[in-house]
């Protein structure tokens, strides 16, 4: 199986889907001539031309709306946001148009659109550029939200998102773009709504998604050295959420830690905890703990930033607490 970067896996998914379906087009800032702010769209303008790889003005709300309008007419737009921090400007179109038109039209107008781009903090980009928006987006009925952590999942979930007849939010990670992994060639579609057990274990379940899969796996290694067998469950899809896999894992391990890049209040982890207390109550040996970004805007200073982010050490500490080892 070829090894690709996360970036190239996304590129491959876009290219294959654009080759497969002429109604698929890519639109966003710097996607064409510049080849993508993060080079995800490298080579696509040359292959598909400017009508299908469309550079936009810096007008997130406007081009998000153009995408939704095109989807109303039956095209399958892929709207790239340079980062999800800027997509906050486009929330009206995502929330009020993309997510609702099917419902308020009584089922007449599906919106087969993908909104994608990097989400969450990178390094020292400070408060306005270092935010994880998944709980905002996953809150909205009418949207699907996926957050792939590996190159294979990035390809498979983006392909699934493009083929879905609903608006799908694809949350990527700036810090993930350069990560490498095996990626199946050609037809590799990861179904939306399925979590993935990235590492099996018996003593504690670490639930994570997107970038936090990396510290969670590191934490699991450290825990193994300490005699604690951790199971790492990658949510992959935040809406719909794979309750079955989460619950099965916690029923097995009896303990759970949820890690996410977002802030703690009303975060994705809060939703996960809701599922677990409801569906696995009698299997819990300890309260579920969460590891999140500190409840502050992201500071610029390197040390402060590190202190604000989830880390393997924080996950290990939480896992030890739910195992009553500390």
């Amino acid at each position: 199986m070829p090894t690709l970067t996360y970036r190239d896996a996304l590129n491959q998914a876009l290219r294959e889907e654009m080759q497969r379906d002429p109604s698929v087009f890519l639109m966003g800032e710097e996607v064409g001539v510049y080849q993508g702010a993060y080079k995800v769209s490298r080579g696509l303008l040359e292959e598909f031309g400017p009508m299908r790889v469309v550079d936009t003005p810096i007008a997130e709300l406007g081009f998000a709306g153009v995408g939704v309008g095109a989807a109303m007419a039956g095209l399958r737009p892929v709207i790239e946001f340079m980062t999800w921090n800027f997509a906050v400007l486009a929330l009206d179109q995502i929330v009020n148009s993309a997510a609702k038109i099917l419902y308020e039209s009584g089922g007449q107008v599906p919106i087969p659109i993908v909104f994608r781009g990097p989400n969450g903090a990178a390094l020292q980009l400070a408060a306005q550029h270092s935010q994880a928006w998944e709980s905002w987006l996953a809150h909205i009925p009418g949207l699907k939200v996926v957050a792939p952590a590996t190159p294979a999942d990035a390809k498979g979930l983006l392909k699934a998102a493009i083929r879905d007849d609903n608006p799908v939010i694809v949350l990527e990670g700036e810090m993930l773009y350069n990560t490498k992994g095996d990626v199946p060639e050609g037809e590799h579609v990861v179904p939306i709504g399925k979590a993935d057990v990235k590492r099996a274990g018996t003593d504690v379940t670490l639930i994570c998604h997107s970038k936090t899969v990396v510290p969670a796996l590191k934490a699991a290694e450290q825990l193994q050295e300490q005699g604690v067998s951790a199971e790492v469950v990658d949510l992959r899809s935040l809406r719909p959420m794979d309750e079955e896999t989460l619950v099965a894992s916690v029923v097995k391990t009896n303990r759970c830690v949820v890690a996410e890049e977002g802030w703690p209040h009303c975060g994705i982890g809060a939703q996960v905890v809701d599922i677990i207390q409801r569906e696995a109550f009698d299997s819990l040996d300890a309260p579920v703990l969460r590891v999140t970004q500190a409840d502050v805007p992201m500071p610029y200073n390197k040390q402060l930033e590190r202190a604000a982010k989830p880390s393997p050490e924080k996950i290990v500490a939480a896992a030890r607490r739910v195992c009553y080892l500390d």
């Binding site: 005699g227 109550f281 299997s283 009553y324």
Partner: protein
Amino acid sequence: MATTVFMEALSPTMEEGRLVKWHKREGDAVQVGETLAEVETDKAIMDLQARADGILRQVAVAEGQTVPVGKEIAVIVAPGETVGAGRGTGDEGRVAPSPAATVAAPSPAPRHSPPAAAAADAAPVKASPLARRMAKESGVDLKLLTGSGPGGRVVRRDLETAAARPAATVSASAPVAPVPPPPSPVPVSRTGAPYEDVPLTQIRKTIAKRLATSLGPVPHFFLTTEVDMERAAEARDALNRQLGDRGKVSFNDIILKATALALTKHRACNAWFQEDHIRYWNEVHIGMAVAVEDGLITPVIRNADVKPLLEIGREAGDLADKARSRRLQPHEYTGSTFSVSNLGMFDIDQFTAVINPPEAGIIAVGSIVQKPVVVDATVLPRRRMRITMSCDHRVIDGATGAGFLKTLKEMLENPLAMLL
């Protein structure tokens, strides 16, 4: 004070039970732990045991009758006690209490309402939801446990520790049973009784259950080989001379290490059978059977393949101590990928061990014995040791097991091979 006998939930999923046979009759003397009746659950025929000493009265369910869990089916009263108003059958006086029961039962009163228990009743017990479920399923009274979690919360490990400890936690409504003497060291006594029935302790029950799930459903087969331990003995002596006060290496440590290393070369034997799949482990965690006072437990040496001999020795010692003093934490006795049972110190030449599911194999190690062996046409005294491997045939085939055993034998016969 009368103790009500209920139809008990004798399986986790049982909702009603059919009374197959009464072992005691109206007016019989009964003792705690004695079988009152056989009850057919949704899974099996189980014994319903007395939870108090006294006389059986008010038998309200006939043989063959099915009643829901929780239904009163009889009462046990103290000798001479009359049953409460509206409940008496009027014939209490007819059956004289048996002398044995009278002797066996000290005054029940203090056990039924100890002040401590009454105080504990007042405050709700803090326990994790899992601990509550486990307690309910195993009939353990949470109030009798000391929680090790924050604020005294009873958590899973407290239940597990309790399960490994005899009798301390008998269910809520029952008095505490007298601790039975450990069976093995007790010499046969001429007390006049032809036999003595000793109730199963929780650990004995667990052992019984776990091993029954092994030898029954797991298709075992056995491979035996004899290993020349001369070079291992020389290596051990040399190492110990060099270590001096810094520690000691035992044969057992060498066997554990060699087993772990051999497994790294035979992943097919380092596996779990998982019903619909086989999990081949890439990590080697060796379970080490340790005999404890009333049973055995298998603490785990994790990643034994990469640990130095001294560390294995130290860990094995610590774990064995903890096992004997019942301080093992769950993570210290779960998750092994292969097990070693060594009865060499008990002068056993050779034996077969029962696989510890879901593992697929275990080796049984006998004593090191000097034997005459033909070496280059000369009979020489050599230290020899027999190893018998039990294999789960669903995972390991004959040749696979033999291959592993061959590697293990080579490593023990030439410890330098462990460096390869």
